[in-house]
């Protein structure tokens, strides 16, 4: 029964695809959390996508790009994301689905992308298993393990023997903790303490005190961006843990450019591993950040905007390669193994897992020209997502 249905859908798509690709615009449906707790995710990704179209033009492979944005607030409700995606496919007849600020929305829409045979470009959701949920998914942001493994191997190589891990008690937190522990203990390090703090946690005092008592070399941290991170960083400094020489290490989404101001000086000295920093030295990044500030003076470019920017670039490159043909299988074939230089550095799409392969940089948070930046001083080139090895 299933095969017959797929054949009909294929022929339907092919005929529509064939005659449409010459003139009609390419409709891209963006499913993003534009309001609610994760509103800043949606805003940054939208900035990235629109910035690409503004700077590189909006016609590729002979077809003009048309964006349709749907707000799947609060972002963690899979049923809302799936309903909006279904509307985009059936009502707005989009050719490509993109966006997905959080993992639940990506997971919910994946089966739909398979059934409707629509390419699905994930621009932020970071859980490793996302690309396995549908053969039509390509990810241009990052994966959690891809960022937590390098900081672990860096720590082991740099005289950090005893690490205390503190993560937020939710899915992504468990993944980051698991990956860090696996890589760090394999490289000879020991975990001297583990804590999973409740997600809504107005006060870190007890945990900070516990860390201070165990006196580790470093603390590996994974918290959702926002109030919790600020409270922790301030407490870390205020209770004299940084003064006591305990090094704070974590993945780069903690000192995200969006909240660096709010973190203030408590973020100084933080060492993180990430795939993008505003301070990354490359002509592409210089052009990108200048264009970003011109278009959005009130905000700062961060990894989510680059996820959107590169997602749009991938679509543009594929359209050029397939001469405007958005047939799902042709699209994915064209995307596999694609390479380009992104504002973050050289990137490519892993032909097997359709996930992004990129440099992961080790950076330290310092004041550059009066402004807090994550300055890169080391990197691991073309790092694949260890989560799927």
């Amino acid at each position: 029964m299933k095969l017959k249905k797929q054949l009909i859908a294929l022929t339907l798509m092919a005929t529509a695809g064939a005659c449409a690709w010459a003139a009609d615009p390419v409709k891209i449906g963006l499913v993003l959390p534009m309001s609610g707790p994760f509103a800043s995710y949606g805003k940054q990704i939208e900035h990235g996508v629109k910035l690409y179209l503004a700077t590189q033009g909006d016609t590729f492979g002979g077809r003009k790009v048309e964006l349709i944005i749907k707000d799947d607030s609060p972002g963690t409700a899979g049923d809302v994301s799936k309903r909006l995606a279904q509307e985009l496919v059936i009502k707005d007849k989009v050719d490509i689905l993109a966006g997905f600020g959080l993992t639940p929305s990506a997971f919910a829409v994946a089966p739909l992308a398979t059934e409707a045979k629509k390419p699905m470009i994930v621009m932020n959701a970071a859980t490793s298993a996302v690309t396995t949920k549908s053969n039509y998914i390509v990810r241009t942001s990052m994966t959690l393990p891809q960022n937590s493994a390098p900081i672990a191997s860096w720590a082991a190589k740099n005289k950090i023997k005893k690490v205390f891990t503190l993560v937020a008690d939710y899915g992504p937190g468990h993944d980051a903790e698991g990956q860090f522990k696996k890589t760090f203990t394999a490289a000879g390090g020991t975990i001297v303490g583990e804590v999973r703090a409740p997600v809504k946690n107005p006060d870190f005092a007890p945990f900070l005190q516990k860390i201070k008592d165990t006196k580790p070399d470093a603390v590996f941290l994974f918290l959702p961006p926002g109030g919790e991170t600020i409270a922790f960083m301030k407490g870390f400094k205020e209770r004299g843990l940084s003064a006591a020489g305990i090094q704070l290490i974590s993945t780069g989404d903690l000192p995200d450019e969006d909240i660096l101001e709010a973190l203030g000086d408590s973020a100084l000295g933080l060492i993180t591993s990430f795939h993008y920093s505003e301070a990354h030295k490359s002509p592409e990044n210089k052009a990108y950040t200048d264009a970003y500030y011109k278009a959005y003076p009130k905000d700062r470019p961060n990894f989510m905007s680059v996820g959107g920017y590169d997602g749009m670039r991938l679509i543009a490159e594929v359209l050029k390669k397939t001469n405007g043909n958005t047939d799902a299988d042709k699209f994915i074939e064209a995307a596999r193994g694609m390479k380009w230089t992104s504002p973050r550095g050289p990137v490519s799409i892993d032909p097997a897992t359709r996930d992004i392969v990129q440099n992961i940089y080790i950076r330290k948070t310092e004041k550059v020209g009066g402004k807090l930046q994550n300055v890169e001083f080391d990197h691991i080139a073309d790092f694949k997502d260890p989560g799927k090895q």
Binding site: P202, D203, A205, P206, I230, R239, A262
Partner: protein
């Protein structure tokens, strides 16, 4: 030992913010879930004063209390007054509506991200007591303010003429009017007091709890727990309840982290079942 100290500081912060709710709920029998919005307002006004107008932190606090009190009076005169007789359900829905409005207004003016708040030098950092116990200066500052306010409020409610008039108007507005008490004026002042305290609590809390448009909804539960456990309208009850909850939460997280959030919710539900009127509250008069 510092766990107890942190618990007390955190408890007092909870008290500062929720005492306003205890006032509006207990003395005026109004379930004001929008109380968090007044605290958020206080936080944003404080950030505004510090960043844009360079007002020092300590000077900003009274202004913040005044600002949120004024907004409280404005809303009380226009909207809240119509709902004094309404059922708790109506009051809850009304205040949830207010929270939605406050959240999107804050989002519109201040954007979605966290608001930075730089504490003045003398309030940050650590203070090393002889016994090797290092105490956060800001936490000490919070405890002092919390206790001062608690006793001032208790004295005001129990000791002054205004306090007596207030309690009379709530117990029996008709009788109070009969005695010539201008009940409306008393309610306005009480509401202003309640929202002013909330604003102050909000501003003081920014450093520890952070501040973003979701603040009003995120911490609603904590304020309600303090009032429910402490018994509405009872300053002493709210103080003791917030201290117990503060220490319980902190100790819970220190010793048995994975249980963490369950502690607070379980304590709340158990308390409500066995002592519906709260630890010290009067038996529900109405």
């Amino acid at each position: 030992m510092t766990v107890v100290f942190d618990g007390v500081a955190y408890g007092l912060l909870l008290f500062l913010i929720s005492v306003g709710l205890s006032v509006t709920l207990g003395l005026m029998n109004f379930v004001n879930l929008a109380h968090g919005a007044f605290a958020m307002l206080g936080g944003y006004v404080c950030v505004l004063l510090l960043d844009r107008f360079g007002v020092p932190f300590l000077a900003a606090l009274p202004l913040v209390a005044l600002a949120s009190a004024l907004v409280g009076v404005l809303l009380e005169r226009t909207l809240y007054r119509r709902l004094y007789g309404a059922s708790h359900l109506d009051q809850v829905l009304f205040s949830i509506g207010l929270v939605f409005v406050a959240m999107s207004t804050a989002h519109f003016f201040f954007g979605a991200q966290q608001q930075p708040l730089q504490l003045p030098e003398m309030l940050s950092g650590q203070f090393h007591l002889p016994g090797g116990l290092d105490v956060g200066v800001y936490r000490l500052f919070l405890i002092v303010i919390g206790l001062v306010l608690a006793f001032a409020l208790q004295w005001m409610i129990a000791g002054t003429q205004f306090g007596a008039k207030l309690r009379a108007s709530v117990d029996n507005p008709r009788a109070a009017r009969g005695l010539g008490i201008d009940v409306d004026r008393v309610f306005v002042l009480t509401f202003a007091l309640g929202s002013g305290l909330a604003g102050l609590g909000g501003a003081l809390g920014v450093d520890m709890l952070g501040l973003d448009p979701g603040f009003a909804l995120k911490y609603i539960v904590y304020f309600l727990i303090v009032v429910a456990v402490g018994g509405s309208g009872n300053i002493k009850g709210s103080l003791v309840a917030s201290l117990i909850l503060g220490v319980c939460d902190v100790a819970g997280k220190y010793y048995i982290p994975q249980v963490g959030a369950f502690v607070i919710y379980a304590v709340m539900v158990a308390m409500l079942i066995f002592r519906p009127q709260g630890l010290f509250g009067r038996t529900a008069a109405k």
